[in-house]
């Protein structure tokens, strides 16, 4: 048993501390590629990414979670952080994500508007929880502005974040409000169709990188997100870049 403990201790020492990134869940289809590109250019740096709804990540950071960078799906959540007394060193908007309504092909309908939600075959519509997930909030805002909320309300099922909404849509829900990047993933693209929710129906889902640590490593990664290379990767996954 003592030998086992020694092995664990050595394992603990051998692991260099990675740069920890808290990332809004909508970025999960694109961030692995960005991380790989960054690590290829900076072999001495190791990145550790944790995904969650922006509101949940704010809560974790407020309670002392050791993140050096926070990628929020909405600038509003950075205000919450600042209000809670968390210091933000730099703040860089780097992409905007379209919101889409996705319907699996097993339903036999192609979405061309909210009216697909009135179809009796659509019984459950996955949406990220609007209480703490920007994509959920955007979806509900759009439904309300278009006058559809009251007719759809009973069909909504809430996911912990927008990528769980995508998972629920693949594994049983009849429709889902997702980030365009999720809808473009092979697992979804081949098994359904999406309709882009008109952008004037919801406040823009602006992805903002916040530097939470004064060290240059954190700043360098944030700067990378605005680089030509990063913008090309983001655009390929459906993001609009500044």
């Amino acid at each position: 048993m003592r030998r086992l403990l020694v092995v664990f201790l050595l394992l603990g020492l051998a692991q260099a501390q990675p740069l920890r990134i808290a990332a809004a869940a909508n970025l999960s289809p694109v961030l692995p590629e960005l991380v790989a590109a960054y690590e290829a250019a900076h072999p001495d740096v190791q990145l550790g990414v944790s995904y969650g709804a922006s509101g949940q990540l704010v809560e974790q950071i407020r309670r002392g979670a050791p993140f050096q960078v926070f990628l929020s799906a909405s600038p509003d959540y950075l205000r919450h952080l600042a209000d809670a007394g968390v210091r933000i060193y730099t703040e860089t908007p780097f992409a905007r994500s379209p919101l889409v309504l996705y319907v699996p092909s097993r339903l036999g309908v192609t979405p061309t508007g909210f009216d697909v939600l009135a179809d009796p075959r659509v019984r459950r519509v996955a949406v990220a929880n609007p209480a703490y997930a920007p994509f959920g909030k955007a979806a509900l805002t759009a439904l309300k502005r278009a006058g559809w909320y009251a007719r759809v309300e009973d069909k909504l099922i809430y996911a912990a974040n927008v990528s769980q909404a995508a998972q629920m849509t693949v594994q049983g829900a009849d429709a889902g409000f997702l980030a365009l990047a999720s809808a473009l993933l092979p697992a979804l693209r081949e098994r359904g169709a999406y309709w882009q929710v008109p952008q004037d129906l919801y406040p823009p889902l602006l992805q903002v990188a916040a530097q939470l640590d004064p060290r240059p490593e954190a700043q360098r990664f944030v700067a990378f997100l605005g680089s030509e290379e990063a913008r090309a990767i983001l655009a390929r996954h459906g993001y609009a870049t500044p």
Partner: protein, 220 residues
């Protein structure tokens, strides 16, 4: 995947060792010593069995946050490995404690009395009389705590967040893979879990049978 499973094993090993150190004296006291308000004391220690992980996680987060009661004492363990270790110790305590208590209950008081009157010292009494009697029970309780810690999810997610290499244990890693629609990788990791659980539960059962045959108890 290796990183997440190694982390799970590290957490489970440290948790079950901690429980061995804390749980054995506790179980001994509960069986052989006069404990005031025994029912109350036992209820407190067994409570994590029925508490939802979210309740335990909620209280631990409040205590371990930098501005929390323990956080201000230097134990700002929220979203750190130490935090999920503490949570696991509390969460698995009932499993270890119940097994240890049963092990001590099987020791016949007359035998202890006789060994004492024969003048055996405390150390030799433990080594010659008590330990040979209880070790299978200790081992099965420790294995149970180990297995239960491996299988934890909710409390670790709440207290630890989801930090790769620090708090992203195997169960949370699978949760992440499913959300990211990486079903093949999730299936592989899940299968590893099924095999591990089976082996461990089988080991616990085998030990129990062996122990019962030593102590001559009629229970199965």
């Amino acid at each position: 995947m290796t990183e997440a499973f190694l982390l799970s094993f590290k957490l489970a090993a440290l948790t079950s060792l901690t429980l061995l150190v804390l749980g054995v004296p506790l179980a001994y006291a509960l069986v052989f010593k006069r404990v005031p308000a025994r029912a109350l004391v036992e209820a407190v220690f067994l409570m994590p069995l029925t508490l939802p992980p979210t309740v335990l996680g909620y209280y631990l987060l409040i205590l371990l946050a930098p501005e929390g009661f323990l956080g201000r004492l230097g134990l700002d363990w929220a979203f750190r490995f130490e935090g999920i270790w503490l949570a696991s110790v509390i969460f698995s305590l009932p499993f270890a404690l119940t097994a240890y208590r049963e092990a001590f209950q099987a020791v016949e008081p007359e035998v202890l009395e006789v060994s004492r009157t024969l003048g055996l010292g405390t150390f030799r009494r433990w080594r010659r009389v008590i330990l040979p009697w209880i070790w299978p029970g200790l081992l099965s309780g420790t294995l149970l705590a180990f297995a239960h810690t491996l299988g934890e999810f909710g409390v670790v997610l709440m207290v630890g967040g989801n930090l790769p290499g620090e708090t992203r244990v195997a169960s949370i890693y699978i949760f992440d893979l499913v959300q990211a629609l990486e079903f093949q990788q999730a299936a592989r990791a899940a299968l590893v879990f099924v095999v591990l659980s089976f082996v461990m539960v089988l080991a616990v059962r085998t030990l129990e049978v062996r122990w019962r045959s030593i102590t001559g108890s009629s229970a199965r």
